[in-house]
């Protein structure tokens, strides 16, 4: 195993000089055959996200690439990358199998460090929600008309509850990791009106920090992180967070215990005291 892990290293400089000027690091060899290079969408601490195609030009996909870190020992680097790619893929496949709305896994190569998943057409909740809040402010509505936001909060709560119900915790629940899938039907007429902005199926994305756990503590921390995310990114939507918790409470057996645990977590924060 350890002897095998070393050879890729001298191979890396052998590939052609960087032609993809827009991408900060070179994609794995498979993606260098492409006539049109995958388009960089966003970049996280660990991975780069591209929009690419799967098998046929008409099937879009999201390509998550974890480049090797030059500061890590090559063997450790390979192991960490492999572990993270596989655990993310496993969690996604499990969610999909159990009917939790997540992107489907198309293909992966844990040695090269890439994962190809379904492309979700739509926008993240953070952007949609801010757009909706801004529109409301501009049109001077202070009270009422919150039905759509309430609906969205309930959909988020039930999606998170579903995920927890099958024994998965997300690990990084923020409004940037929740998407609203654009349904073909709803694009049609007046898609920009307030009523339409918050429409769409809630899809959970980015399971890079997810793990399989049924501990109430982990679930409560997931909710707590989401609550804090709402508080800091959309303070005006925070009063409605109770809707999320309400829908969550109905979503699976044992959710109420988690909600009780959430109160403990609120008192002390995300990190458990290590004083014993």
């Amino acid at each position: 195993m350890e002897i095998q892990a070393i050879p890729p290293l001298p191979q890396a400089p052998a590939v052609e000089p960087p032609v993809l000027s827009e991408s900060p690091s070179l994609l794995p060899p498979v993606f260098q055959n492409d006539s049109s290079a995958p388009k960089l969408i966003t970049q996280g601490a660990e991975a780069l996200l591209y929009r690419s195609t799967y098998l046929l030009p008409e099937i879009p996909c999201a390509l998550k690439y974890r480049p090797s870190k030059p500061y890590r020992h090559p063997i450790l680097d390979a192991r960490l990358t492999k572990h993270r790619i596989l655990s993310e893929a496993r969690v996604l496949v499990k969610c999909r199998k159990e009917g939790v709305p997540v992107p489907a896994v198309y293909a992966l190569d844990e040695k090269e460090g890439w994962l190809m998943v379904e492309w979700i057409e739509g926008e993240v909740v953070r952007i949609k929600l801010n757009e909706w809040l801004r529109n409301r402010k501009e049109s001077g509505i202070q009270e009422g008309g919150e039905e759509h936001l309430k609906g969205l909060m309930r959909r988020i709560g039930s999606a998170v509850g579903r995920m927890h119900g099958i024994g998965i915790v997300h690990g990084d629940l923020t409004t940037s990791n929740l998407m609203l899938r654009l349904n073909g039907i709803s694009i049609g007429d007046e898609a920009t009106t307030d009523d339409r902005i918050l429409d769409g199926e809630v899809v959970l994305i980015d399971f890079g920090l997810a793990s399989q756990s049924t501990a109430d503590e982990d679930r409560a921390v997931d909710l707590y992180v989401l609550e804090r995310a709402f508080g800091s990114t959309h303070p005006r939507a925070e009063p409605l967070f109770s809707e999320v918790l309400d829908a969550y409470g109905q979503s699976f057996k044992g959710a109420n215990i988690v909600l009780k645990k959430l109160e403990d977590v609120r008192m002390r924060g995300r990190k458990r005291s290590m004083l014993g």
Binding site: D34, L55, V93, R96, E98, G99, A104, Y106, R155
Partner: protein, 326 residues
């Protein structure tokens, strides 16, 4: 819209003008087995069953046994030597180098499957194809277990004749994985063609994957894939000429609708372990259904088309995760 629908599923689909083409397997299949049975009731069947039993147990040591009993007397109602032109399709997968084109074709009413399998087992390099069994169900699982007796092997309900291919994408994904592994020098089986068959499998058992997805002496419908590689470049016309000469069967287009007609959904779900997917009530019980009943997330009620799509992506995920160990 209605006009288009009728184009897709014309009632005349099974009754084309060409009399040969009337032998679609839906019609031909029920006719063939009874005739084989009635001709030689005892002996013939027991030999065939023995061969199948060997195939199940993975007795690859005796390829002669597997093929020797094959299909004697059966299929005599089929147009045996139809020299029809293969409907070959050449696909260039995304991200794969242009030198790795793949040629795909689908046949039904194959009559020389045992010969083809023998070529594979003998390692005849001119028959280097991915030969994927696409036959329809012939023995129901219950019949099968009755015939073979109780067995605690997990694949006891694995009838040799179940169409396990969901769609074109299912096949293309297997080809993509095999080619990707081949390019990076990570083949687990003999060559890229056997790797395609192996790639269809959700687990690491190569012999089992060949048994499940590969050609058997009793295969009637066959999916053939040829990968052109830089070391052995193959043009479509070469493949076409070779298949036209060697395959005795009726070429049909490799389309989703042809595959969907014959795919055995419960078997596919079983193979890829997708049975616990309770769409609409995954982890939660009745309470969750109430939540869905509000129509909050718009899931829960899937059309047949969406259901097939869902099955497809779940199969793709299971295939992608094959070999995931750490």
């Amino acid at each position: 819209m209605p006009a288009r629908k009728s184009e897709e599923h014309p009632p005349s689909r099974f009754l084309p003008a060409d009399p040969f083409l009337r032998f679609t397997h839906k019609r031909a299949q029920p006719m063939t087995l009874p005739t084989a049975r009635s001709q030689e009731p005892g002996l013939e069947m027991s030999f065939k069953l023995q061969a199948r039993f060997d195939a199940r147990q993975g007795n690859r040591r005796q390829p002669v046994n597997l093929t020797a009993y094959s299909r004697a007397g059966s299929d005599n109602s089929l147009p045996a030597t139809m020299a029809a032109k293969a409907l070959l399709e050449t696909v260039h997968l995304e991200h794969v180098p242009a030198s790795h084109a793949i040629h795909i074709t689908l046949y039904r009413n194959i009559t020389n499957a045992s010969f083809l399998q023998q070529q594979l087992l003998a390692g005849n390099t001119s028959f280097e194809y991915a030969l994927i069994d696409a036959s329809v169900v012939c023995l129901s699982p219950s019949t099968s277990s009755k015939l073979f007796g109780p067995c605690d092997a997990p694949n006891i309900t694995d009838t040799p004749f179940a169409q396990k291919i969901v769609s074109r994408l299912h096949v293309l994904a297997a080809a993509f994985r095999a080619i990707n592994d081949s390019i990076s020098g990570r083949l687990r089986s003999r060559n890229v063609h056997s790797e395609i068959v192996f790639s269809l499998s959700p687990n690491n058992n190569i012999a089992e994957s060949f048994r499940r997805f590969g050609i058997t002496p009793d295969t009637t419908s066959l999916l053939i894939i040829k990968v052109s590689t830089p070391t052995s470049p193959t043009t479509a016309s070469e493949v076409q000429a070779h298949l036209d000469a060697e395959i005795q069967g009726e070429p049909i287009p490799f389309t989703d609708s042809e595959l969907a007609q014959i795919s055995d959904i419960p078997r596919i779900k079983k193979i890829y372990k997708l049975n616990n997917s309770g769409n609409g009530n995954g982890g939660g019980k009745k309470k969750e259904k109430v939540v869905n009943g509000d129509g909050v997330n718009g899931v829960g009620k899937l059309t047949a088309e969406e259901e097939k799509k869902e099955l497809e992506v779940q199969v793709l995920g299971a295939m992608a995760l094959r070999g995931a160990t750490n």
